[in-house]
């Protein structure tokens, strides 16, 4: 009250002085210290009354009899009164004041005031205690009855135990039939309920037709995959969790309670002990507990145990795609998971497991839900599998490093990629799993660190990949193989189904992947070296021979091929098909490393040693790829990656280097093309795009990577394992290459290592392109592609090479490029040599410089990949190339000196930009190419085709066949490209291109067509992603949508074609 009065007084005074500032100031003063009030202000009661009538109308009679009417505003200490909006009341009763009669405010001295009449005032208006009990009760509008609390008498029935009886009553209300019956009897309501739900669904008609069985098997497989997924288990666990909300979240754990209520209620703590309640316990328990819980009794130890099997499976299930998504979400968790997985895998696991365990706690915390769920739900391997996917995504990337990582990146980017990644994981799972697991284990720590360090999962993945190949293969292969294989098989099937919807391709892939993994695990080291050697030795040969074999063999023989690959590098490699290749791809990378290194084992050691550098580089590269995928790559990431990749890869693992090389090669090619020829630039650009897609589009990368990886692997390893990669890659590329290869590749990349993935991805792309181009061009070119593969390998060995190539291109791009078609062949061979031997780099550089062929091959490969899918795609690529080339050109200068950096950067960065540019320029470029360099374009395509051939020598034959037709197709595509470019513009180009080509190829050779289609799909996906990314960057959402739409159309068409083939 006092304060109020003082405030009012101050306010009044201030009003008089018209000083707001004074009011606040005085209020502060008064509030701070009680001031002796003077006059009326000292009369609390008067102040209260006058204050409570503030804001009311009043009539004020002055001494002379005049009456003023106004709103009482305030008063002063001498009881001076202030009226607002006051006017002199006129004698006429009914008339109100006019506007001009009203005075803003009038101050009346108390000595002049006779009477102030406030009419109809609510003295309680301003009372603050509106919400006191008395105030509220006083205002109650109606009757207010006190609620009398009545004691509850449950009667004797509710004595102790009655409530429990309710708990134990398991009956869940009325039986539906009872309800129907009751309603019918009581109310005459007859239910129309039909248990068959015929109104909502149609019963499944079973028959023994092959088609039905096929579908059924696939459905079962899918169901298995789905049910094995951690997400599924987690959700099911949620849905089927019988624990009440209270139990789950609020109940106090009663350990002793159970004694009496064992049957009715199981406290969380006890549940944990019970085997079947593992997941429940997990839920009940905090994330950490859950993680621990996975292992039934021993929470932490148990989890590890579970993890071991689960980890492997996880890796295998890898749900690489799944992994990737999850991993992306929670890198650390994934890492942890991976660590766990690694621990599970084997002896190595043990050691790793220790580390894993250490890490696990963190993971659990970080990703309690994911990890816990999977582990808890599955309780066993299954649970682990679910986890594995998630974990894999994180650590899984490491496990299925190349594949998972790429996938992860891709997955995040696109759902499609996810699917692809999934397939890739499955495919990759065999080798990747084995290798990946060990790698993961060993590298888990690294990976985790790297992951943590590296923003993009890709980098991490890359590292795992690289490391995994060397480490994983040796260590994990033996132990993990069985479980992993199963899981892998499942995963593969999934991946195949998802990605390859085409039944035939997926199956082969699965088989291959399955078979390969074990082999790879055991054989990987050896095989890789062999493959590399073979590749190196017979890159050209492989490319040629493989080309024919690849298409058919790749698909059908893929499994055998995968194994064979190990034994017989080139042939088997080709046979390996996409998956094998993928695996091999990593292997190849490793092999390539090995090859680079005298002994495979020594290589492994070296690899391990190098792994660190490589992983870093890989990480970087991966990071770059990831980042680049979107916009960053083109701009920032490319340079860094390039530098890092090139350097690290060479130093670290051959494969990484190889991978890097490919990108560089790409760059170089792109670079060269831009510089060399406008047209060539286009093709390079296209190639670049593929690379970009690979490296940049993480999501795509997985898929693209898979194919590319193989090619890449072949190429990279090509130098060392050129033969194998080329052969293997060739076939896969050719036959399965499209979808399968891509899938496989994606898988393999993931599995292998992030590095391989990235690099491989490009390679694959390039390879795929090459393959396609080879198909178009012919065997000779095919040969060149292999060389390219080798070059890529070489380049991989030394990123510099790519740079060199770039520089070279810059120097003598144009002339050489043209020659490239023919020269490309030569360059490619040369490249292989370089790859084989470091010196080769110089040669390669020379080659590259001399003939864009080398670069162009790479680029072409990519382009071709797209192109392979469709000549139009190639054209689109070419179109894209020009922009890319521009990009590259810009980058190119740096690449020469900076080669590694530039290459990676350029690929990634340039790719995005290139893609964008490509899209933008695609029409123009194509046109330009067509008119000016029609021959060149064709050549480029041919080269690309050649490149593919190189990559997939085995497949080449079919490819070649295709090529022959494709050649026609390519040319047509060129025209088409010209046409397509405009509509499709950038991204779509690939899809269109691929599709057109794929279709064309399809027409000619079934296998090839299928493979192409498949490859095309992946590529198209990649391209789409890349495109989408670039487009988004360009703010051409409409284009993106358009591209996506086209992609859908293409994919659908491809599927249809595949289906028809199937």
């Amino acid at each position: 009250m006092l304060s109020i009065t003082s405030h009012q007084c101050i306010t009044r005074w201030a009003v008089k002085t018209k000083s707001i500032l004074l009011i606040t100031t005085l209020l502060d003063l008064f509030s701070a210290s009680q001031v002796a009030f003077s006059g009326v202000y000292a009369n609390m009661r008067m102040v209260h009354i006058l204050t409570s009538v503030v804001g009311t109308k009043c009539e004020l009679n002055v001494k002379n009899g005049v009456i003023y009417e106004g709103v009482f505003k305030t008063y002063g200490p001498e009881c001076d009164l202030v009226l607002d909006a006051a006017h002199r009341k006129s004698p006429e009763p009914s008339m109100g004041p006019r506007r001009e009669d009203i005075v803003e405010s009038i101050i009346f001295k108390s000595s002049d005031v006779v009477v102030v009449h406030f009419k109809d005032v609510d003295l309680n208006y301003a009372k603050k205690d509106n919400f006191t009990d008395s105030a509220v009760s006083a205002r109650l509008n109606g009757e207010h009855k006190e609620k009398d609390l009545e004691p509850w008498d449950g009667g004797d029935q509710h004595a102790s135990g009655s409530l429990e009886s309710l708990d134990t009553d398991l009956s869940n209300g009325w039986d539906p039939d009872d309800m129907f019956k009751y309603n019918e009897e009581t109310y005459g309501v007859k239910s129309t309920y039909d248990s068959s739900l015929s109104s909502y669904t149609v019963p499944l008609e079973r028959d023994n037709s092959e088609e039905f069985l096929k579908r059924e098997a696939r459905a079962a497989q899918l169901a298995e995959e789905i049910e094995a997924s951690a997400a599924y288990k987690a959700r099911v666990a949620l849905e089927n969790d019988e624990r009440s909300e209270e139990e789950k979240y609020t109940a106090v754990v009663r350990e002793t309670h159970t004694l009496s209520r064992e049957h009715k209620y199981i406290p969380p703590s006890q549940r944990n002990r019970e085997p079947g309640l593992s997941w429940g316990t997990g839920r009940q328990n905090s994330p950490r507990l859950v993680q621990c819980n996975p292992g039934p009794p021993a929470p932490r130890a148990g989890p590890h145990d579970y993890n071991i099997p689960g980890v492997d499976q996880r890796i295998v299930n890898g749900g690489p795609p799944r992994m990737s998504p999850k991993s992306q979400r929670t890198p650390r968790t994934h890492r942890v998971a991976s660590c766990r997985g690694g621990g599970a895998s084997g002896a190595d696991f043990m050691s790793q497991g220790a580390s894993v365990e250490v890490s696990t706690p963190v993971p659990a915390r970080s990703s309690p839900s994911g990890g816990t769920w999977s582990s808890v739900v599955s309780g066993g391997e299954l649970s682990h599998r679910p986890r594995s996917p998630r974990q894999n995504s994180m650590g899984g990337t490491a496990s299925g490093p190349s594949l998972s990582s790429p996938q992860a990146g891709s997955v995040t980017a696109d759902s499609v990629n996810m699917s692809t990644t999934v397939t890739s994981p499955t495919t990759a799972s065999p080798a990747p799993i084995v290798a990946a697991i060990p790698l993961v284990e060993a590298k888990e720590s690294r990976i985790q660190e790297t992951r943590q360090n590296s923003p993009s999962s890709n980098k991490e993945n890359m590292k795992p990949m690289e490391s995994s190949p060397s480490i994983n293969r040796p260590v994990s292969k033996g132990v993990i193989a069985p479980d992993h294989r199963k899981q892998i098989d499942n995963l593969k099937k999934f991946s195949v189904d998802f990605r390859l919807q085409p039944s035939s391709n997926p199956d082969p892939v699965f088989e291959t992947t399955v078979t390969k993994p074990p082999r790879d695990s055991g054989e990987k080291p050896k095989e890789q070296p062999k493959d590399k050697n073979t590749d190196l030795t017979g890159p050209k040969v492989c490319s040629e021979s493989p080309s024919s074999d690849e298409p058919v063999t790749a698909v059908a023989a893929a499994p055998a091929g995968s194994k064979p690959n190990t034994p017989s590098p080139s042939p088997s490699a080709s046979a390996l098909s996409a998956q094998p290749e993928q695996k091999r791809g990593p292997d190849v990378t490793s092999q390539g490393v090995q090859t680079s290194l005298p002994a495979a084992k020594s290589d492994k050691d070296d690899k391990e040693e190098k792994k660190d550098p490589v992983p870093e580089s890989i990480k970087k590269s991966t990071l770059n790829p990831n980042a680049k995928e979107f916009n960053p790559r083109a701009f920032c990431t490319p340079p860094k990656p390039a530098t890092t990749p090139t350097l690290p890869r060479p130093q670290g693992q051959p494969s990484p280097s190889i991978v890097v090389q490919q990108p560089p090669a790409m760059y170089g090619q792109t670079m060269c093309f831009p510089q060399m020829y406008p047209l060539t630039p286009v093709s390079p650009g296209v190639q670049v795009i593929p690379h970009m897609t690979v490296s940049q589009s993480k999501p795509y990368r997985p898929v693209p990577n898979m194919p590319q990886q193989r090619p890449d692997q072949h190429h990279p390893p090509g130098t060392s394992t050129m033969m194998h990669p080329a052969t293997a890659a060739g076939p896969p590329i050719v036959a399965p290459s499209p979808a399968y290869s891509t899938q496989y590749f994606t898988c393999s990349p993931q599995q292998f290592a992030s590095q391989p993935l990235v690099q491989q991805m490009p390679h694959y792309q390039s390879q795929a392109q090459h393959v396609f181009s080879p198909v178009l061009q012919g065997s000779a070119r095919m040969i060149t592609p292999p060389t390219h593969g080798q070059p890529s390998l070489v380049s991989s060995s030394t990123t510099q090479y790519g740079e060199q190539t770039h520089t070279m291109y810059v120097s003598a791009p144009i002339p050489q490029q043209y020659p490239h078609p023919s020269a490309t062949l030569h360059p490619h061979p040369q490249h292989p040599q370089p790859s084989a031997t470091p010196t080769g780099q110089a040669q390669q550089g020379a080659q590259h410089g001399g003939s864009h062929a080398a670069p162009s091959p790479v680029q072409h490969p990519q382009h071709q990949v797209a192109a392979a899918a469709a000549a139009a795609a190639a054209q689109a690529l070419h179109l894209g190339n020009p922009p890319q080339q521009q990009m590259y050109t810009a980058l190119a200068p740096t690449p020469p000196s900076m080669t590694p950096g530039p290459n990676p950067q350029s690929p990634q960065a340039s790719f995005p930009s290139a893609q964008q540019a490509v899209y933008i320029h695609a029409p123009q470029v194509q046109h330009g190419y067509n008119p000016n360099h029609m021959a060149h374009v064709q050549q480029a395509h041919m080269q690309s085709g050649m490149v593919p051939a190189h990559h997939g020598t085995p497949s080449h034959p079919p490819v070649m066949l295709m090529a022959t037709q494709p050649t026609a197709g390519p040319q047509p595509p060129l025209p088409q490209g010209t046409l397509n470019p405009i509509p499709v513009s950038s991204t779509t180009h690939f899809s269109y291109m691929t599709h057109p080509q794929g279709k064309a190829s399809m027409f000619s050779p079934d296998a090839v067509s299928c493979t192409e289609l498949n490859t095309l799909k992946p590529y198209s996906r990649q391209t789409l992603f890349d495109n989408t990314i670039t487009f988004t960057k360009n703010c051409s959402f409409a284009l993106v949508l358009f591209v996506l739409f086209q992609y859908h159309l293409i994919s659908s068409s491809c599927r249809g074609v595949l289906a028809s083939y199937n």
Binding site: I49, S52, G96, R98, S110, V116, H117, D120, N124, Y125
Partner: protein
């Protein structure tokens, strides 16, 4: 507070009657008195007759005669409740605005009936304004003099119907008020005359 002399002090709660120099007879309960300023505050019966309201009269005893203490209250005055000053301030502002708005209408030559109607509508619908002599409600309904229900025009709809209801009720209330006032006036007149 200086101690008041005999006849100069009014205890809170006492009932007092006095005659102003202007010949106005006042009677009410003392709710506040300031000796120094000779200001006396009385709570009188409400002029509107509403039970929860009351008239407050501030009288300067310097201009008053015939002060009679009808009933003296020796009890302790009731405690003073704290006041929500913001509420009072807002009321003052609103009253001022209303008066100014009303004055605008009057200056525009609007009849008292129209002004009253405007005030009534304004209580329900804030979105109303004067347009010359017409009351525009929600930019939709226009009420023209003499402000009868039939004078409400606008798009047929809920708004028009709603405004018509308000006008209808206002007129009804006006009639009843007038009757009450008449009765009171007659009573007062009779009382005065008596």
């Amino acid at each position: 507070m200086a101690t008041p002399g005999p006849g100069e002090y009014f205890s809170i709660g006492s009932h007092v009657s006095c005659l102003t120099c202007l010949g106005q007879r006042l009677q009410g309960e003392v709710i506040a008195f300031d000796y120094q300023t000779k200001m006396l505050t009385l709570k009188c019966t409400p002029s509107s007759g509403k039970p929860n309201l009351s008239d407050v009269v501030l009288v300067n005893l310097a201009y008053v005669s015939d002060v009679d203490v009808i009933t003296d209250c020796t009890g302790t005055p009731p405690p003073l409740a704290s006041l929500n000053f913001n509420k009072l301030t807002n009321r003052a502002r609103a009253e001022k605005e209303d008066k100014l708005s009303q004055a605008y209408a009057i200056s525009a030559g609007v009849s008292p009936e129209g002004q009253q109607l405007f005030q009534t509508i304004h209580k329900t619908i804030k979105e109303c304004k004067w347009q010359e002599k017409n009351i525009v409600v929600m930019d939709d309904v226009v009420i023209t003099p003499p402000y009868r229900v039939d004078n409400c025009r606008g798009k047929e709809g809920s708004a028009l119907g709603h405004v018509r209801k308000i006008v209808e009720k206002h007129l009804r209330d006006l009639e009843s008020q007038k009757s009450v006032q008449r009765a009171q006036q007659t009573q007062k007149d009779s009382a005065l005359s008596a």
